[in-house]
């Protein structure tokens, strides 16, 4: 049984409620998340400076250098460290979206626009008391986000390296540049500007970051946010 923090009794006496303090995120997950947040803030900010041509720390060259450094580190942090944590703690089942998750997102959308009643809104947190762990704990959009973020980081890296090498060649091994150019070859077939793709991925991060931040701070998710800070959250166990 999970650790019992407190017990409250209600006048009805038919149903008692226990509050459990359970582990939601492991320390490594939290460290990864918050370092990712800090890096992403600097990464997006320096990118915006370059786009607008307004530099708050140093000039164009300094800002560009910072942007590249943050970019390289985010690539390492999200494309190598994050998968390593997922594999180490066998979290792929929790994080890889399934067809059911896409169905859940569709149902949530229909509830949002009131085509379906709220009673149909799907549950997405399942905590098994005996096993003392979540067997499902992410909103379906979060699962899609965790995967699409990796794809977007990769896309940012590929377009970023090619753009950087176009301006200042020789900083990246030519074999990597050749591979990245090969990946981006289809853009050339359709005359799509690489810098535009880089910008659109920036918009993706801007959008998802704003939405993610909003959902993290609404009252209904307070305990989930606490979980990302302390590792634990309080959940209610109803007993008949």
């Amino acid at each position: 049984m999970a650790e019992t923090k407190s017990e409250t009794s209600k006048p009805k006496a038919i149903e008692t409620e226990q509050i459990l303090s359970v582990e939601r995120y492991k320390r490594s997950q939290r460290i990864h998340h918050w370092i990712h947040v800090v890096l992403m803030i600097f990464f997006l900010f320096t990118g915006l400076e370059l786009f607008l041509g307004m530099y708050f720390l140093g000039d164009y060259s300094d800002t560009r250098l910072f942007h590249v450094i943050f970019g390289v580190f985010i690539g390492f942090w999200d494309l190598i460290v994050f998968p390593a944590i997922v594999i180490r703690f066998k979290k792929y089942g929790e994080l890889i979206p399934t067809p059911r998750d896409f169905l859940d997102m569709f149902i949530i959308f229909l509830c949002y626009i009131r085509i379906l009643p709220d009673s149909k809104y799907p549950h997405y947190d399942y905590y098994n008391v005996d096993k003392k762990k979540y067997i499902m704990k992410y909103h379906p959009a979060q699962k899609v986000l965790s995967l699409s973020n990796l794809i977007a980081i990769f896309g940012m890296g590929v377009t970023g390296v090619v753009l950087s090498e176009q301006s200042n060649a020789g900083h990246v091994p030519s074999i990597i540049v050749d591979i990245f150019n090969l990946i981006l070859l289809p853009l050339g077939w359709f005359a799509i500007d690489i810098r535009l793709v880089h910008f659109l991925i920036f918009l993706y991060f801007l959008t998802t970051t704003m939405v993610h931040f909003y959902f993290a701070i609404i009252p209904q998710n307070r305990e989930r946010l606490r979980g990302m800070i302390t590792g634990k959250e309080k959940i209610h166990l109803k007993k008949s």
Binding site: G53, Y121, Y126, Y127, F199
Partner: protein, 291 residues
């Protein structure tokens, strides 16, 4: 016919898809639209521009068609003229700006487009002199110098400004350099950039070559240019619209789902040993089954 919930959902989905296709089709046809633009009229000055005489040619002061170029910085402006065989330009910008550049475009488009013609001017501070380059753009990287240099210049430094006179033949014959061929009546587009302002949006200006002599004709005629997909503008619009759109969504969601009518189950967790996450079909049945 009875409209069930499933049919209603499918109809809504088809309406959304149709709206998307129609919207895309409408936006796709906007390239045929024209709009007025700011620009330069290069009048016929019926003389040659003499270089290396240590002074700015007097006819420039009579040319009233000019534009202030914000990309060049405080005091920056440009004028054009011609003498039926050569294009003349007076380019003025702060000496503190390490370089300025002009890109000639066949039509409005994204800046630094591959194989566009251009000129770049670099300031050497000590001693004061200008290095002029006839260039071709090769994408968003440092432009290539043309093998055949077809511009001649004279620079005069005055009050922290550079006054640069440029002469270029209408026809250079430099096909390798992708030089634009100017002629009487030719209308091209151009953008400006400098070291201090070369990232982000650049306004498209037109350059109209005319055989009308100084003082004849309008110095600022109405010229329609095709509206192309100017990526600089599109990016700025997206950068403004995206956060606003998200904030509207957040405000609407906060009012609907946090304040006025929160979700029935209040995002609570299923906490027991009996429930497992449903499969796709189980979720489908429990949501859409008529029972």
């Amino acid at each position: 016919m009875k409209i069930t919930r499933i049919k209603f959902i499918m109809i809504m989905f088809i309406i959304f898809l149709s709206a998307g296709f129609i919207g895309t089709s409408v936006l796709g046809s906007t390239t045929a639209v024209t709009q007025s633009a700011r620009g330069f009229v290069a009048p016929n000055v019926n003389t040659s521009l003499i270089l290396n005489n240590g002074q700015v040619e007097s006819f420039w002061s009579e040319i009233t068609s000019y534009q202030n170029i914000s990309e060049f910085g405080e005091g920056g402006f440009v004028k054009f003229a011609n003498n039926e065989t050569h294009l003349f330009s007076l380019i003025v910008y702060p000496q503190s700006n390490d370089w300025v550049s002009i890109e000639f475009e066949p039509e409005p488009e994204v800046c630094m487009a591959n194989l566009n013609d251009g000129w770049s001017f670099y300031v050497n501070q000590n001693p004061d002199q200008i290095e002029a380059r006839d260039i071709q753009f090769v994408g968003t990287v440092m432009p290539d110098n043309d093998v055949q240099m077809d511009i001649s210049t004279e620079e005069i430094f005055d009050s922290s400004l550079v006054y640069l006179e440029v002469v270029r033949p209408f026809e250079t014959g430099d096909t390798d350099g992708f030089d634009i061929a100017f002629y009487n009546g030719s209308l091209n587009m151009m953008q400006f950039a400098s070291k201090d302002d070369h990232i982000g949006f650049h306004e498209d200006f037109y350059l109209l070559i005319t055989d009308k002599l100084l003082g004849e004709g309008s110095a600022d005629p109405d010229v329609d240019i095709p509206v192309g997909a100017n990526l600089g503008q599109i990016k700025f619009i997206l950068l403004g619209v995206t956060p606003v759109g998200i904030l509207v969504f957040i405000g609407f969601h906060a009012f609907r789902r946090v304040v006025s009518s929160p979700i029935e189950h209040k995002y609570t967790r299923i906490v027991d040993n009996d429930h497992n996450p449903p499969s796709f079909m189980e979720r489908w049945r429990e949501t859409f089954s008529s029972k």
